[in-house]
Amino acid sequence: MKLLIQKRQSQSALFNLMTPLLCLVLALIVVALFLVMAGVNPFAAYRDVGIEALGSAYGLSETLVQATPLIFTGLGVMLAFRMQLWNIGAEGQLYMGALGATWVALFSGITSTWLMIPMMMIMAMILGGIWAAIAGALKARYRVNEVIITLLLNYIAAGIVKYLVYGGWRDPKGYGFPQTADFPPNAILSTYFDTRLHSGFWISLVLAAILWVFTEKTVWGYELRVIGNNPRAAQYAGMNIQSKTIFVMFLSGALAALAGFAQVSGVVTRLQDNISPGYGFTAVIVAWLARRSAAGVVIVSFFFGIVYVGGDALKITYKLPESFINVFQGMLLFFLLASEYFVNHRITLVREPKTPVAV
């Protein structure tokens, strides 16, 4: 008996669809084992997650609230992915975006209601864009590894926000809490009914649609893919890879920065140092799972919205740490990576012939 491993010539559509689901189930099983070891009943915990995230209109709205920053950051990471650029710094770009939006809201002196929100968005995109473009420029100019640069910039962005909310931007009337003053009403996105769902959600959907058109239907989007898949061919075809690297990283950071804008303007209504529980890191999984498609980002973000709402519920009910959902995210990624091998290879058990065959 012997295992025979062969590359599959083609993959069935059903197989491609079923594998992510199978990975999800396997990840849930492993996380359940971890929960048991930590003294939590996994069945009760998973039931709570389902009820909390999907069981009521409010729960569903919370899922969308969590999905919104994931869509923004996911779109940003996805765009860079299409050019084979790794933007692991969406978290830092989110914080820089929040910083830019906050500056406009509190210190720019803009009073016009019509100008306020657009200016906040633009400032967020500029700061977040520049933050990512630093890594893009270093990559284009000196071929410095963008994975590590974007990652290290996360810590610096978080440090700058901390510096401001503990220092010059701290609300003098805030009882010493590390946060800025509340935004004026014209700098706050409208919310619906009695939920926390805000208009930033629609902005994220519109952006996803625009990005889908640009990446799938235009020459520009096609060039991105060519550069990503075969930079040499792209160069021969006369595409300017260097400037495109910087520009795409700028756009990628600008998109991720809008998540920061949406958080401060739609959810928190001020700047504080913990506006993101790691959306920017989850964004990498979102973009990976979405197979670099803008539409996919929206769908996957919704799923991870459930995960975040569920994680919050577990934090409150079972006193689990906030970063617990990282266990699930990590395991899901491992299973997805492993599954690709089995999607691409056929593994069969063959009986070896008893008598050696003459060659």
Partner: protein, 308 residues
């Protein structure tokens, strides 16, 4: 004045040691051709395992061994995905980082707020009496171990057959395979062993540097270790230099805070990251100028069927 310099020097070594272990582990891994971005997660697992087992058994040896054991298991997960299943090394490394953050936070809950006496220092007679440099010889056993490891790893790669084979596997796995070196097995164990060494760095954090456990206590040191691999050009002695350089920045920053400068501590804590970015740019430019020592097959999965 001498006292101040000695204090800074002492902190330099102690702040540099976790990074040194992290970088050494990553060097072994990358020499085999596999990138491991999960060092941050490994160090967290090592920090918790070391702290938990030491506070339960009272034995530092048991704590360090537990750190090595659990980080090797986690490293094997990365190795299984990247070496045997040819999965994307960057994504798998990120998954490992996330898993480490989450798992250590989950199982560390009951250890938050507990203290430990910390590894005691061993004074080496005579040498520890040298002014300033004597600080090097008043350290704990793990610091000495890290320096011994630097020597051993350097000798391993330059003087032993296994080391040469491992380098070949990282440079040209096709050629290694042809000459009968089991490529996948070498890579698997290099990743696992490297993970274990990185894990000691985490244990050093929670057993000596700051002897307590708190969620996310490595605070990005794993990523700095990964960056220093490029700075060190995949050589262990240069990793020691890089790690202590980082430790020096950290020590200077801590001294500035202690002496109450007007600069915000939040800006000072950003210094090591800024420094690492600078170092990364500088060393990449050197690499590009032809001083490259980078394993030629770094990041590429090896599949015998694809051999050209």
């Amino acid at each position: 004045m001498i006292d101040l310099i000695e204090t800074i020097f002492d902190t330099t070594i102690r702040a540099g040691t976790p990074i040194l272990f992290g970088t050494l582990g990553a060097i072994i891994c990358e020499r085999s051709g596999v990138i491991n971005l999960g060092v941050e997660g490994l160090m967290l697992i090592g920090a918790l395992a070391g702290f938990a087992v030491t506070s339960m058994t009272g034995s530092f040896t048991a704590g360090v061994l537990a750190a090595i054991f659990f980080t090797m298991i986690a490293g094997m997960l990365h190795a299984l995905i990247t070496v045997y299943l040819k999965g994307n090394q960057i994504v798998s490394g990120l998954a490992l980082a996330m898993l480490g953050v989450g798992v250590s936070a989950l199982f560390g809950r009951s250890f938050v707020g507990k203290g430990l006496d910390g590894l005691s220092r061993i004074e080496i007679p005579l040498l520890s009496k040298i002014p300033i440099f004597g600080a090097m010889f008043r350290q704990d056993i793990l610091v000495y171990l890290s320096v011994i490891l630097v020597v051993l790893i350097a000798l391993f790669f330059s003087r032993t057959r296994w080391g040469l084979y491992l380098r070949t596997v990282g440079e040209n796995p096709g050629a290694a395979d042809t000459s009968g070196i089991p490529v996948t097995r070498y890579r698997f164990w290099a990743v696992a062993l490297g993970a274990g060494i990185s894990g000691i760095g985490g244990a050093y954090m929670s057993l000596a540097y700051t002897p307590f456990w708190v969620e996310n206590m490595t605070a990005g040191r794993g990523w700095i270790a990964v960056s220093l691999v490029i700075f060190s050009m995949w050589s262990a002695p240069r990793a020691l230099f890089g790690a202590y350089l980082f430790g020096g920045i950290n020590a200077a920053q801590l001294q500035l805070q202690a002496h109450g400068t007007s600069v915000s501590p939040y800006l000072l804590t950003m210094l090591p990251y800024l420094f690492t970015i600078g170092v990364l740019i500088w060393s990449t430019r050197r690499l590009e100028k032809g001083a490259s020592n980078e394993p030629a097959s770094l990041g590429l999965p090896y599949d015998r069927e694809d051999r050209k």
